[in-house]
């Protein structure tokens, strides 16, 4: 079954089909939540809440990018989580299981990539919530501007400006912490 069939079956109440979709998108949703919330537990809660909510509302999905729709629901779950618990550390306090090193990668390179990841996460934490979400969706999750506009419920112009400002601010942070060279 392709995605369209799975969505149709889900809308008719087939939970197994829906869970197929969950398995396709859960990593992406979880990564967005983790980058937004910075804690494994909070990210798991937000992701679970997002998929429960998606299951409840799947009938309301009216075509278009299912990925953007799922990310929109995840983004809302992250907002709720942030609102519910303002004490969330956005900077990770625990080291996460990440993808294993690529075949071509040496252990040293992998370690550097991990270290960079922590640093970038700290930089992301300095961004406003909306800028952080736009940058994460664009550069980490690889969504198109149009999908981001749908996921964040805003105009394309707003998406562009959030990405532009978010990247600039992150760049400034990375230059300041001497992670990349500036002008």
């Amino acid at each position: 079954m392709d995605e369209t069939d799975l969505i149709r079956a889900s809308q008719e109440g087939d939970l197994d089909s829906f869970n197929e979709l969950v398995r396709t998108y859960e990593k992406m949703a979880y990564n967005l939540a983790y980058r937004m919330l910075g804690s494994q537990q909070a990210a798991e809660d937000a992701t679970q809440e997002a998929f429960l909510s998606a299951w409840k509302n799947v009938r309301r999905f009216r075509g278009g990018s299912f990925k953007a729709w799922v990310m929109q629901i995840t983004a809302n779950a992250c907002r709720d989580e942030l609102r519910r618990n303002k004490r969330h550390p956005v900077i990770p306090l625990e080291s996460l299981p990440y993808d294993p090193p690529a075949m071509s990668e040496s252990p040293e390179d992998y370690a550097v990539r991990m270290e960079t990841g922590e640093r970038v996460q700290r930089g992301l934490a300095t961004l406003s919530r909306d800028q952080r979400m736009a940058v994460v969706l664009c550069d980490i999750q690889g969504l198109s501007y149009e999908e981001i506009a749908r996921a964040m419920g805003c105009s394309l112009g707003t998406v562009k400006s959030r990405i532009n400002r978010g990247r600039s601010q992150l760049r400034d942070y990375l230059v300041k912490t001497e992670h990349i060279t500036g002008q």
Partner: protein
């Protein structure tokens, strides 16, 4: 040269606004060409582009976190504690209904009571021709063939009361007091008391009516006072009434001029139905309490749902 510098600066800010989209390859050809032209000529903007590219490359190279579990949705199953919710709902509904009823009853004033007539006294005042009374700033001339009736309304259970009456005789200013010596009395005497003031609160209402000159005065003496004149009301026939408003406008007193023994007083509402207010406040508090309880149950169930989902994943 300065103009060139200014133009260049303007170019730079325009380029920097577009450079993020340029990195993503989202510019229209003519925009892209403009940006590239400027970049070729401006080392500052080139550095900007490079650092932004480096930032984006770092982001894209970030390792993806691997969730420790799956997030598939388990079939719905009733949770323990679900039964407590309908009870909470019915209780809230019942309390809201009670609250609405209490507010409605309060507004309609269903528990408002008419208070019994207060004690009163009447005095016939005579005076030498040419003398006059001023009450509330209005002068009542005493003619020899005229009688002035003083009506004194005092709180229930009060045996004696007095009130200051400004009396101006032909000889000059005199201060007097009206005294009601005993319950059920039919006559009060105007007594001169020099400049002595009467304590406020001794008398609830005090009215002086002069008949039959055709001019009627009502005066309420309380903490404050309110006076109004009713011309021609006190001609003396059956059914004539004198009305008086208390100083805080909370009560209306109505006197039957033909039979001064039937004085009716409508007490302010707050005195008789005051008990309703605490009931209303208590109900509002109860609604808030039940709302908080419902929120608590909702949060608890959400937590339980997430925990259960986690357990389900562990089982799979």
């Amino acid at each position: 040269m300065r103009l060139f510098g200014w133009l260049r600066k303007d170019e730079c800010s325009r380029t920097r606004a577009l450079v993020s989209e340029y990195v993503d390859g989202r510019l229209r050809p003519e925009e892209r060409d403009g940006v590239e032209q400027h970049l070729a000529a401006c080392p500052g903007c080139r550095a900007e582009l490079e650092s932004l590219r480096a930032t984006v490359a770092l982001l894209r190279g970030l390792p993806q976190a691997v969730p420790a579990r799956h997030f598939v949705v388990a079939p719905a199953r009733p949770l323990p504690g679900r039964r407590s919710l309908p009870a909470l709902r019915y209780a809230t509904a019942a309390v809201v209904v009670l609250l609405v009823a209490a507010v409605a009853v309060d507004w309609a004033g269903a528990f408002e009571r008419e208070t019994e007539p207060t004690q009163f006294g009447t005095a016939m005042l005579g005076g030498a021709e040419g003398e006059y009374w001023t009450v509330g700033g209005v002068r009542n001339t005493v003619n020899s063939d005229e009688e002035t009736r003083v009506v004194l309304v005092v709180p229930d259970g009060t045996d004696t009361a007095s009130a200051a009456v400004e009396s101006v005789s032909t000889n000059g200013m005199v201060y007097g007091s009206v005294e009601a010596p005993a319950a059920g009395l039919t006559q009060v005497v105007l007594k001169e008391s020099g400049a002595e003031a009467v304590a406020s609160g001794d008398v609830e209402e005090f009215a002086v009516v002069s008949v039959p000159s055709g001019s009627t005065m009502a005066l309420a003496v309380n903490d404050g006072w309110f006076a109004s004149a009713f011309d021609g009301v006190a001609e003396g026939g059956d059914g004539s009434r004198l009305s008086m408003v208390s100083s805080d406008y909370s009560a209306l007193y109505s006197f039957d001029m033909a039979d001064s023994e039937r004085v009716t007083a409508t007490a302010p509402r707050t005195a008789s139905d005051g008990w309703l207010r605490p009931v209303e406040y208590a109900l509002v508090g109860l609604v808030a309490l039940l709302g908080a309880a419902a929120t608590g149950v909702w949060l608890w169930r959400r937590k339980a749902r997430l925990a259960e989902a986690r357990v389900d994943r562990a089982r799979q």
